[in-house]
Assembly symmetry: C2
Homo-oligomer: 199 residues x 2
Amino acid sequence: MARSNPARRVALLDTAIETLAAEGARGLTFRAVDAGADAPAGTASNYFRNRDDLLTQAGERVYERLLDGASQVVVPADAPRDRDLLVRLMVDTVRRIVDYRTGFLALLELRLEATRREGVRDVLTDRVRADLLSNISTHEQWHMPGDAVTVRLLYQALNWLVVDALTLPGLVDDADLDAYVAETVERLLPTEPAGPALG
Amino acid sequence: MARSNPARRVALLDTAIETLAAEGARGLTFRAVDAGADAPAGTASNYFRNRDDLLTQAGERVYERLLDGASQVVVPADAPRDRDLLVRLMVDTVRRIVDYRTGFLALLELRLEATRREGVRDVLTDRVRADLLSNISTHEQWHMPGDAVTVRLLYQALNWLVVDALTLPGLVDDADLDAYVAETVERLLPTEPAGPALG
């Protein structure tokens, strides 16, 4: 029967994420997780049914941590819903992702593992789709400029910007990252007038 | 001393690319390449100085094959340099990359390996930078609409579109891929009028 100490489960998942980022998907074994979490041999196999379960829960954990950060973003009710606000939100988002370096690298490993493992592919497909729909919904609820296509194109362009920043930092200097994000938003919303303040 | 049968070298690199895509970076060993290429044990180690050399030359080979395809694209001299032409070129480019599925997946593996191996990171950084500059230069020589920023944003947005299409095909149905590419170009060039034909 699966153990259910929640803090232990989270510690194992965080170790799995670090292992994915450091060693790649093939380096992620129950044994590596036990060792990395300073847990007795056999612990991880008590918490996760199999390797697919460990992989997909590690992916969930990355999203959870990123969404925790996102949920703390506060947009003042009277802030104009304009391009500048969207730039600020996207800079915050990209910074949050880049700062959680191992989380994003682990997700990239999972993307590649998804080409090999149907179970990982299915869970990740649902997760990414839900995340995108949630971003679109938030965008609309907050009356941000642009539409669903804007959100999808931001998702595409900013995800690859993060790939460049994390894997080939010589291409995107950290000091220039915010400017690249701003440029991306500005080009995707070139003619949008400032929206009215919502009080 | 390194062997120099060019056809053998290319066959070994193509095997390395398939191995990277199928097994991940950690699955790429000299032994796996020898076996995959039906070559006697020790062959790969005669062609490549070390693992970094094998990894970076495999990356070069992917770019070589993609650029070979790109060099066969013909733009009629009298075709208007407008958004429609750019859409057509970008659809061709994305199709070429998606069709060389294992090549792109191998490059993603190398991106992750670049976080672990300085030698891979340096070579890949130079390669991607050179490719981007070459795209910008071609864009300008062909008098295409948009500027260097347009080219960079296309690079960002379309690379991640390919990531989605290849790793989570449930997100981007192959039948919709061209429409997604067109939408990306159209949103990045929203107000650009059609340019004049160049005769």
